[in-house]
Amino acid sequence: MTDVSTDFESRLSACPACDVAPLAGRLARTGPVRGDVILSLPTAHCAACITDVERALSAVPGVRAARVNLSLRRVVVDAEGVTADDLIPALDRIGYEAHELDPGALTATEADRRGRDLLMRIGVAGFASMNIMILSVAVWSGADAATRDLFHMISGAIALPTVAFSGQPFFASAWRALRAGRLGMDVPISLALILASAISVFETWNSGPHAYFDGVVMLCFFLLVGRYLDYRTRAVARSAAEELTALEVPRAILLREGAEEAVPVADLRPGDLILVRPGGRVPADGVVTAGASEIDRSLLTGESVPIAARPGDALSSGEVNLTGPLTLQVTAAGRDSSLSRLTALVAAAESARGRYTSIADRASRSYAPAVHLLALASFIGWFWMTRDVRVAVNVAAAVLIITCPCALGLAVPAVITAASGRLFREGLLIKDGTALERLAEVDTVVFDKTGTLTMGTPQVAAADLDAEGRAVALALAGGSAHPLSRAIVAGIAGLAAEVEDLREVPGYGVEARWQGRPVRLGRADWVGADDEAPGAATWLRIGARVHRIDFTDSLRPGADKAVARLRHAGLRVMILSGDGAGAVRDIAARLGVEEWRATVTPQDKAATVAELSAQGRHVLMVGDGLNDTAALASAHASISPASALDAARVASDMVLVGKDLGPVADAVGVARASIRRIRENFALSILYNVVAVPFALAGLATPLIAALAMSLSSVSVTLNALRLR
């Protein structure tokens, strides 16, 4: 009977490699292969969406199969030779927004395998603990003599292979910790698992009354659940962050002997000629060889006023081309250009992060030695009193099992999972495990202006125009896709005038003839205005008259509320911007922020953050541009909006997915609440220990008490964490 169950168990669990390896092979085969197109479907949410999308995609010629994954809001299309450009319009026609994802940037399969591996171990431990518990209940209720020994033997036959399989994550990490000369949380866990298993085997062999097989397996189960929660939280945030990166499929238009060809940015070489269309982002550093246009470099410098680009000007990747097509000769190719600038910054960020020790680490640092000392002391004490090694080892094992940081291992992951889940629903991704803890300590918030507090899209602020002027301005602006023109169309009421010969002069503006007179809308020097006042403005010339139209940046939705709530919570709010003083003063006044600095260089931003940190302040940096990257990296915690440059998103701990800035204020509140919960959870599990440890030390801890203490503390800790949701 025992033999049968041993055989059954060992076939399933004693060979984890057999369990995992075929899985890996399967994943490699069924994962996205080359030729598959992956689209993101942000609006898919129902059963009808699945059938609609799959039917529409299957109708596109060349598509073999399409499968929607509603959990990830993605669709994988198996289509040889069909590109996303053919599929997106098909979905657009039935009303679904779709974006192409770069399969290379999605590494979900690798992470998936780890999650599945953990789940498998949880499943095995759960199965084993249920079966052993059935047998243990019989033992607790008074089975004795041969029946008890038989039940212990069956329990052992189930428990030992289970511990060998399910305990592996703990053994591996304990071994790593020991080799590095540290005592992590996993060392006492592994010691408890091994010692308790060994003493239980010994007791079973000698027909002893107590065996801890149930406690050992339950310990494995609860700790694995904690591990899995921890892993899930990170995996969800990582896959969402990856999706943001994958949304920007990096392509460039290469000019090869006059013909245009779309190539991946990684394939660009210095000397290549590339075409940057109006509205496109400059894919690589280069020098303009032909064309004239205006360049928006707000992501790099924070300036909101576009800058003219002529042949000979150097452009860097990340800038946005506004009006005319530009031909560029690449000087720094592909990943080198942006990476070389960022390597130093990201390295600095990582070293700063590495210095932070999380609450869990701090707790385990003091907890692990205490547990070991307590177990050792009880062993020595009992050995000295009874001169019986068997009793002494039994007591020491009971102490180890009862003090084992079961609830401690669940306390932090359960809270972080609940809090991240709540913030995720509000549109904030937590990328870093310790980010919430750091966010809770924040007392100063530094905002970037352009693209963070503002949308980076201009709004008409003031225009000295009569009805005639408004009509002409509207007519001229309607002929251009320049952001300032669009702002005029959106912001000035009235009907457009009838104009003739409308044409856009890239880099300068728009001109036309109105009632026989030439009219122009554009740059001051081109229109003929001698007005050189600073700020974002454009000029309209009708005959001999020149009108000035001023712009301000439109506030990001929720910015005023977020700032007000942060100030209400007692945080110091500052604005640091690379933009001109006028624009910054205006925004600061609208938001009611007293502390602001304009025309700040990227180095100054980082230096200001470092200076604040040196004063003992914990800074939360919120920014989106390359000029914020150093500050984001050196701040205590950092948030960037999803519209930020890839580099800024990499450097920050949290990413704001939606347009609304409101979740920033929520995040600080949730972070503080979750730290409170973590502390409560620690207090709870210490309370259980304080109650149960005297029993163990007195040698009264039966396996029943150990099992009760363990499950009660784990369940109460998890329930307390779930209150956050």
């Binding site: 049968v4 369990d19 959990s71 079966n131």
Partner: protein, 52 residues
């Protein structure tokens, strides 16, 4: 007490069956898209015959 000779293997076997089902589900990627699978059952598209 002789009944234990049957009962214990039976209970272990049933538990093992559950575990085997879990391992099968995990390997067959049944947890890939829980939300989508919950919704797919509401669609009547392949009610008459299975999807080819």
């Amino acid at each position: 007490m002789e009944v234990l000779v049957y009962l214990i293997p039976v209970s272990l076997g049933l538990g093992g069956l559950g575990l085997a089902a879990f391992v099968w589900a995990l390997r067959n990627r049944q947890y890939e898209d829980p939300k989508g699978d919950a919704q797919r059952i509401l669609s009547d598209e392949w009610d008459d015959h299975p999807k080819p």
